[in-house]
């Protein structure tokens, strides 16, 4: 599945997007965040405060307990500050 990062999540991870293949035991957005945090220091830093991170699946906002099965694109970003 494709993962995208924005704003300081992108800066901390050090890339704007990548394709990942988490194990089948990773079923929800919060489980995916925990799994990503284990991929190295940059990820651990980006996701050090998981409650602050917002997520979207296929361009729609989702909650931490949302299932990731079937997702084409998952995005992680800080709270929005547009407008």
């Amino acid at each position: 599945m494709k993962v995208k990062y924005f704003a300081w999540v992108r800066e901390r991870v050090g890339k704007a997007e990548e394709t990942i293949e988490p194990p089948a035991t990773v079923r929800t957005v919060e489980e995916l965040i925990a799994w990503l945090s284990g991929l190295g220091e940059a990820y651990a830093y980006a996701f050090e405060k998981p409650k602050v991170i917002r997520a979207a699946i296929d361009h729609a906002h989702v909650k931490p307990d949302a299932a990731i099965a079937g997702a084409r694109e998952i995005a992680f970003f800080p709270p929005m500050t547009g407008g």
Partner: protein
Amino acid sequence: MATPVTIRIQPDDFDVAREIAALSHGRTDIGAVVSFSGICRGDEDETKIAALTLEHYPGMAEEEIGRHVDEALSRWPLNGVTVIHRVGRIEPGQNIVLVVTASQHRQAAFQAAEFLMDYLKTSAPFWKKEESAAGNGWVEAHARDDQAAARWTKS
């Protein structure tokens, strides 16, 4: 006739008068047009700002704004809606965002414009980075913006 809706995300500035005219010109069913222009300020909580850089999530930004425009159209009798959000580097005094709403009556136009702005602030995927004498940093979300958006939640 379907209500004309324009949603654009662009680095270029916009022309408020042109957008108002595009919604209302030649029509005699519109009684009220409200425009909101959000402008880059030169200081934020006492810090002098040199510029902002706006990042967005292409694809989702347009869709998320579109969902809120649809919601506005279902709540108020609108004759037209335009939302333009700039991205890239923006200096103090320059435009950031424009919302224009047209309706027969003023309350619908005012409320729809406020509703759209409140949701643009809290749910459209845009992020501001500030350049200031203190360095560059991402703008933090304000609790007051979440509160402003929460008042539109149907109970």
